[in-house]
Symmetry: C2
Subunit: 367 residues, 2 copies
């Protein structure tokens, strides 16, 4: 990963050690975050956005790591669906990540990076850290929590575990439980990282990072983010900068070239151990299991929370059927929930892309 050590991330350090689901404690937790828009005098207009697996706190504006626009620039800003003229938007880098919050690349108690001595964390642990951040910021109750993909898992986890902290929950393209297929894809990616000799059991900091393994993991994940139709429309079998097949192993097809680029460019901005820890947290996620085995029980405390759930018809990673299970659980506890399956060609990534119907749903629900 490049340059992130040179960036002065806005952050705070939690006063108390964070008690984790594993039974371990994490002391001196740093949480990096960004805010957009003013906090109202009554502190009642805060919206917490949770980011996805490889996301970060730079929702809008310019991301200082990549130099590119924030990952939800289309959704967050003045006059946008999550209107920063009206709302105080907060987004924190999840613990376990590598963009300023404490993770495996952070210095541990001995002063050197935790690496694989970092405790295995869960989605709930990520949310705990952010609730503690809100305490530090003096924000007791949120107008809404919002998230897509792993961000949606955090939103659901927040509703289940901290229902008193938010009035509204908006969860997009997500699930209450990682399936065997979800776990399988992540495990394959982890094995790709661990198979890279540069990984060195995680102790690669200061040396060569396991970039090739991480690139392969990212390539595989990327395929799951796109729909078959989307790939066909975008690339089909079109060749890359050539008239005919090369009968070799170069990237003949555009889709090959695209994937290679996605894999390689990712390694500049992300830490391989963070990828291991965050995918593990996602695989461990099973909101029902956490609450005695019945998903409805997870939401018993959230009867007065308003929910909005959105799935995409071409998302085969977290499907409409997965989302419907959440809807049924919320119905079982009589929580107010609206649910919509949107039609969009981009697969799982639709939540990040140009889907005007999503803009309208978000704007309408956030109010």
């Amino acid at each position: 990963m490049a340059n992130t050590s040179e960036i002065d991330f806005r952050s705070l350090v939690l006063d108390a050690p964070l008690a984790l689901d594993s039974g371990r404690e994490l002391a001196g937790v740093q949480v990096a975050y960004e805010t957009y828009g003013e906090l109202a005098p009554d502190r009642g207009n805060a919206v917490l956005i949770f980011h996805a697996l490889t996301g970060d706190q730079f929702v809008a504006g310019t991301n200082p790591v990549t130099g590119k626009p924030g990952w939800w620039e289309r959704m967050v800003g003045p006059g946008k669906p999550i209107d920063t003229d009206r709302f105080h938007v907060i987004c924190a880098n999840v613990i376990g990540s590598c963009l300023g919050s404490t993770g495996p690349s952070s210095a541990g108690p001995q002063g050197k990076p935790y690496a694989m001595q970092f405790p295995v964390i869960t989605i709930r642990d990520m949310v705990r850290a952010q609730m503690a951040m809100l305490d530090a910021l003096g924000i007791e109750k949120l107008h809404a929590v919002v998230g897509g993909s792993m961000g949606g898992m955090q939103a659901l986890s927040c509703a289940a575990n901290f229902p008193e902290r938010t009035d509204r929950v908006l969860a997009i393209a997500t699930t209450a439980r990682h399936t065997a297929q979800n776990i399988a894809f992540h495990e394959m990616g982890r094995q790709a990282i661990m198979a890279d000799p540069n990984w060195q059991g995680g102790d690669y900091y200061g040396g060569e990072a396991p970039a090739k393994g991480l690139a392969v993991a990212r390539m595989a994940a990327h395929i799951t983010y796109l729909s078959e139709e989307g790939l066909t429309t975008k690339f089909g079998r079109r060749l890359q900068d050539r008239e005919a097949k090369s009968f070799g192993f170069d990237a003949d097809f555009q889709v090959e070239s695209y994937l290679r680029y996605q894999g390689l460019s990712f390694t500049d901005r992300f830490d391989a151990n963070s990828y291991l820890y965050i995918t593990r947290a996602m695989d461990y996620f099973d909101l029902a299991e956490e609450h005695g085995g019945l998903l409805a029980d997870a939401f018993r405390g959230a009867k007065d929370t308003r929910f909005c759930l959105v799935s995409f018809d071409t998302d085969w990673l977290y499907t409409t059927a997965d989302m419907r299970e959440v809807v049924h659980a919320l119905n079982a506890v009589a929580a107010p929930v609206s649910f919509v399956e949107l039609s969009a060609p981009y697969g799982h990534d639709s939540f990040l892309l140009d889907v005007p119907a999503l803009d309208r749903v978000v704007e309408g629900f956030i109010g």
Copy 2:
């Protein structure tokens, strides 16, 4: 790969050099094959079975490499759907592979393994080699060609390019064209192999094979062979030999343990360079493109061939929609075709597994 050099594969060497789609020629091609059942005096009862990507010629009986039953033992044998009391079944290892037929691990003209000097081959080249094998065996016309997955591609390619060689074509769980998503998964696997430092640009023979990279490639491919439902039924989120999650990076979930085993065990029996070459051949496969861009034109010579096409409802690698395109092309040239989508929970792998409906279709069509 273990031990295969100690096995005396039954094989023949083609008289003439094989002209390849790339424009190159391959001389001294060895084709390893097995036969089951007696050839009739009129030589009219031969059935050629084409194997899949990582398959081999050991359709029935005991596979001498793995010590396990042949890969289609349930389908081929005395009294079985492809009845060896009546038919003379032939199955050849495809060129490019590593089970006795000429491939990248074979000695090239300089006496050392071809490695990446092996020419890039196509599905049609594989079929060409097998047609030349039939010439050498004195078999002019087949009762049927049969294949699933890449075997089905060869069956369709045979119908398109050598329609005079067979009366019947049975293609199962296959496609006439690799899609962008199909290519993407293969490319990711190839990158995993090439990222393994043991790969050494392909020149690893005599040293350590790139087993870790090959295992990762196999894991990814394996996910695509199974349906989401099948994975859920088989594994769900069940833990492997433990009561609770370990909060570590061991294989906590059964599906992780299964994938790791599938990846590792594969590296004992398969050559990484063969995996590169055969996946490349599959990615290049586009039967319409080979015949001027219109799939129907591929089958103009096969009007008098009887076709049977089978897809599985849970196969997301080569879908029923893919198969329907083949049906439409055959309809366009008025070829006799029957098509059935079978219901089976196992995804793409259904063609290899216990699906009694498939047995009946195969038995009925082969006659």
